[in-house]
């Protein structure tokens, strides 16, 4: 059964053009689904419609098979973690967690037990008497999580919960969230603009653009077989190299192909490994970045095309003219409407 | 449906009170200004007669003049002196905090007390002020009895009372000016006067605007010191608009006539407010 189902969902603010139009989408029970996209793509709006914080303009939303029409946010059995955590500043950590439980009329003993458990689980037991303003950013984040967990919801919603943390803490909490997801075994819906978060935590990624689904699939699939150029260029850092096949002198002939693409990290420099059908390109190095475990090159292969190359564990190349190669199975092709063409060249992923 | 009427229910108590005790009275006052009525008998419609009487009344001219004189000097002096005091006290030290507190106290003390204290200080025979003036060889001044001096005395008292508040607001505004602006100015070798006019003054101008409006409204409604200390005298020299409304209304029971003075005051205050918002919308935003 689907945890969340949208039918012909439309959302427009006031009299502006709709942000979401006639969207049909199902989010699988027990999945960690990431709604990914640039700002303004409608991902947060979608999440807030699920939470009931935003009125939809038309269509139907089901949670756990139930129509959510006229169901108050508080009655939807969901928890939400906000970007700024939305902790109640005048309440202690304990009261922050307790507030929702009390409103849900959970019995006193049960409340005490749940708060103790959840505080233990996120490592806040010593901070229950503190006010949010006396906590660090990471601790506040954990209070927000604890508050969400304690309600034992059937659905977790998270709206960019890591964006206010520094890089190190973000990496740590990512793994914490994965652990949490595996332990709780409930549905997570997670909104982010950060592809790393999406790829590392999600079991399903939904890439949105202008309120439309660009690609929905597992992280591997979305990375290896992007459904269109937008997806290909959104995922990966640096993104996939995509350019017009017309700019190539020699290319594998694929019916209807207008664009060719390959990931920077799939490029290799060892000529001896080249096989039949592999693509050979050459150009001048414009810039070289040594990043320790990897080296990035920016190479100009013709006046209008620049290719990003990412290599690992190799000697840095000197500036100048280089030749590089891509295995045939690592090539993607897109048609004139920028959609992926399955050309049968990939048997191994 | 319930959520549709909720906001209206929530604002209802406030709207009812403001409607009944502010909006309705102001409309009623305008209405009354076209009538002749002594509170007892029947009301008689007289058109613009009250205003005509007002325009030809020498006393009213004097009262209007007195009020404007009072407003001009009180607002001007208390804002400028407040600005000076703020410049003097803006550094965040203990002594300054104490002095600022001392200057501010008159603002939170009842006008009744202030009036009596100054009446006593300005007593022409036994007052402290004249005693001190005598020490430096100045003849006693009849602060409150001389028609040429009385208004000045009332102005002094009002300025004394309101400087503290102005200082407080301006000190806060000055402390809100980022320090790096001053550092940049001193790196540019800007003289102190230039720094004041080019940095401090523009940066605190929003607060200054606000203060001027507040002071203007407060000054136009001047009543207590006049009523308690001089009761408008001597020779009508300290009589102001509100005091005149009170007299005509509560002493002579000329309700319509008093209301027409009220209408004049209302128009003056409206002009001030409109001017203020006009300037507010045109002023440059520095923050």
């Amino acid at each position: 059964m689907a945890a969340i189902k949208f039918e012909k969902l439309t959302k427009a603010y006031d009299h502006n053009a709709p942000v979401i139009q006639n969207l049909d989408l199902e989010i699988e029970e027990g999945s960690f689904t990431v709604l990914l996209g640039a700002s303004g793509c409608g991902k947060s709006t979608l999440l807030r419609i699920v939470a009931g914080l935003e009125e939809k303009t038309a269509g139907t939303v089901y949670i756990g098979g139930e129509d959510m029409e006229n169901v108050e946010p508080g009655d939807r059995h969901i928890s939400m973690v906000f970007q700024n955590y939305a902790l109640y500043p005048t309440m202690t950590v304990y009261d922050n967690i307790d507030f929702g439980l009390k409103n849900m009329k959970v019995p006193v003993d049960e409340r005490k037990r749940r708060i103790a458990d959840v505080a233990e689980a996120v490592g806040l037991s010593d901070f229950l008497d503190r006010k949010p303003k006396n906590l660090s950013g990471g601790q506040r984040q954990r209070v927000a999580l604890a508050r969400a967990i304690a309600k034992e919801p059937q659905l977790f919603l998270m709206d960019e919960p890591l964006s206010n943390l520094d890089a190190k803490l973000r990496a740590q909490i990512r793994t914490d969230l994965i652990e949490l997801y595996r332990k709780l075994n409930t549905t997570f819906v997670y909104v982010t603009h950060d592809q790393i978060e999406a790829l590392s935590m999600g079991t399903t990624i939904i890439l949105l653009r202008g309120g439309e689904v660009q690609h929905m699939g597992s992280p591997t699939e979305i990375y290896e077989r992007p459904a269109n150029i937008y997806t290909a260029k959104f995922i990966g850092s640096p993104p996939m190299n995509v350019f017009d096949v017309a700019h190539l002198t020699s290319a594998p002939q694929v019916l209807g192909a207008k664009h060719i693409g390959f990931r920077p990290e799939k490029i290799f420099l060892d000529k001896s490994a080249v096989q039949d059908g592999d693509l050979t390109l050459h150009g001048d190095i414009l810039a070289r970045e040594l990043l320790g475990d990897q080296i990035l090159y920016k190479v100009k292969i013709n006046p209008v095309t620049i290719v990003n190359i990412k290599t690992f564990n190799e000697q840095p190349l000197d500036y100048g003219h280089i030749e590089f190669y891509i295995k045939a199975q690592h090539l993607s092709f897109f048609d004139d409407r920028e959609r992926r063409i399955d050309w049968g060249g990939i048997n191994e992923i | 449906m319930k959520s549709k009427i909720r906001p209206y229910l929530m604002i209802a108590p406030a709207m009812i009170i403001l409607g009944v005790f502010v909006i309705y009275p102001i409309i009623y006052m305008n209405y009354l200004s076209f009538f002749s009525w002594n509170m007892m008998g029947s009301m008689k419609f007289v058109g613009f007669d009250n205003f005509k009487t007002l325009i030809s009344n020498k006393d009213f001219h004097q009262v209007l003049g007195n009020t404007f004189k009072f407003v001009f000097w009180t607002v001007g002096l208390s804002v400028i002196l407040g600005l000076c005091a703020a410049l003097y006290l803006k550094a965040n030290t203990k002594i300054n905090a104490f002095l600022q507190g001392a200057i501010f106290v008159p603002h939170i003390v009842s006008l009744v007390s202030i009036s009596f204290i100054w009446m006593w200080l300005m007593d022409s025979q036994y007052g402290l002020l004249n005693y001190w003036l005598g020490l430096i060889g100045i003849d006693p001044i009849r602060w409150l009895e001389d028609p040429n001096v009385a208004m000045t005395s009332i102005i002094i008292i009002s300025v004394w009372k309101s400087i503290g508040y102005n200082t407080l607001i301006l000190v806060a505004a000055m402390q809100g000016v980022p320090e790096y602006l001053y550092q940049a100015a001193s790196l540019d070798k800007s003289p102190k006067v230039t720094t004041f006019f080019k940095i401090t003054l523009p940066m605190i101008s929003p607060s200054l605007f606000f203060l001027v409006l507040m002071n203007l409204i407060a000054a136009f409604k001047i009543f207590e010191p006049v009523y308690i200390i001089t009761n408008g005298g001597p020779l009508n020299s300290t009589n102001t608009l509100v005091n005149m409304i009170y007299e005509e209304g509560f002493v002579f029971y000329k309700i319509g006539y008093a209301s027409s003075i009220g209408v004049v005051l209302m128009l003056i205050l409206s002009v001030c407010t409109v001017l203020y918002f006009h300037m507010l919308s045109r002023r440059v935003h520095y923050r």
């Binding site: 914080l53 507030f99 | 502010v22 001392a102 009744v112 007390s113 402290l128 806060a172 009220g262 209302m266």
Partner: protein, 273 residues
């Protein structure tokens, strides 16, 4: 140069203290003098035998305790009424979009610019038509709402992040609970500030009691003190007036000394809007 500057500063400081503190010192001093000491020349700058009887004379001339009680009751009544009218209105203006909200809020702002000195005549007529003159209601109702307080509190409510309300809604809190348990505690500093300002102004108020009362039933302290003036006719009994004045001023001065920081902050906060 530096020493000269220091000396100048000290002189200015002393002058400031003289100008702003002497009047109050003189008030306290006079309150303890005999009538002959008050008119003694050169004046006495200290008192060796404080005349406590001046205070008992105040009690004889005006019903001081009764007026004190009135002052307390009326100030408290105004505070209570303003809490009831201002808080929900500020909340509604801050949080809800509803038809006419802009017009009504604009109207509220306009009332902020109308001083009581402008409308006291019609208000008196209204209250007397309602038969409320010389009742507590007449002293409280005209001040039962403050447009200014609505404005300030609305600002505060609007600065509270929307997410907090949303989090509370997800926590199954009712609208009333969100207002009372989440929003109001966050706005507490503003509420305290406004309460302080309202209390000071209603405690000091002379104008409404003057125009709205015709006997002592609900008259307050400031009016009582002003009535000391009329008692003796020819010579102003300044020692008694000042004794009354001391009684009126002391609560405010004590409050100021105890809570100087809060009071200063309250007034500054308001001015910075």
């Amino acid at each position: 140069m530096n020493i000269l500057k220091k000396i100048c500063k000290t002189i200015v400081n002393i002058l400031l203290v003289l100008i702003f503190v002497t009047p109050f010192y003189w008030m306290f001093l006079t309150a303890f003098k005999t009538i002959s000491q008050t008119i003694q020349m050169p004046p006495l700058f200290y008192v060796l035998d404080p005349q406590w009887s001046n205070f008992s004379q105040v009690f004889e001339k005006i019903p001081l305790l009764h007026m004190f009680k009135n002052s307390v009751l009326i100030s408290a009544g105004i505070l209570l009424c303003q809490a009831i009218t201002v808080i929900p209105a500020a909340y509604a203006f801050a949080r809800y979009k509803f038809a006419g909200s802009k017009v009504l809020f604009g109207l509220t702002l306009i009332t902020m610019m109308i001083p009581s000195q402008l409308i006291f005549l019609p208000v008196y007529l209204l209250l007397s038509k309602l038969g409320l003159i010389n009742t507590y209601a007449s002293m409280i109702l005209p001040s039962a709402c403050s447009a200014f307080a609505i404005f300030m509190l609305r600002q505060t409510f609007m600065q509270i992040p929307e997410e907090l309300v949303e989090a509370a809604r997800l926590d199954k809190a009712s609208e009333l609970k969100i207002m009372l348990k989440i929003m109001l505690p966050i706005a507490r500093p503003t509420v305290t500030t406004l309460a302080l300002l309202t209390f000071i102004s209603s405690w000091n108020d002379y104008f409404w009691p003057l125009v709205l009362t015709t006997n002592d039933t609900v008259r307050t302290l400031p009016l009582g003190i002003s009535m000391l003036k009329a008692v003796d006719g020819a010579v102003m009994p300044y020692h008694i007036i000042m004794a009354g004045n001391v009684l009126l001023v002391i609560p405010i001065i004590i409050a100021f000394i105890c809570a100087q920081k809060q009071i200063i902050q309250a007034f500054t906060y308001v001015g910075e809007k």
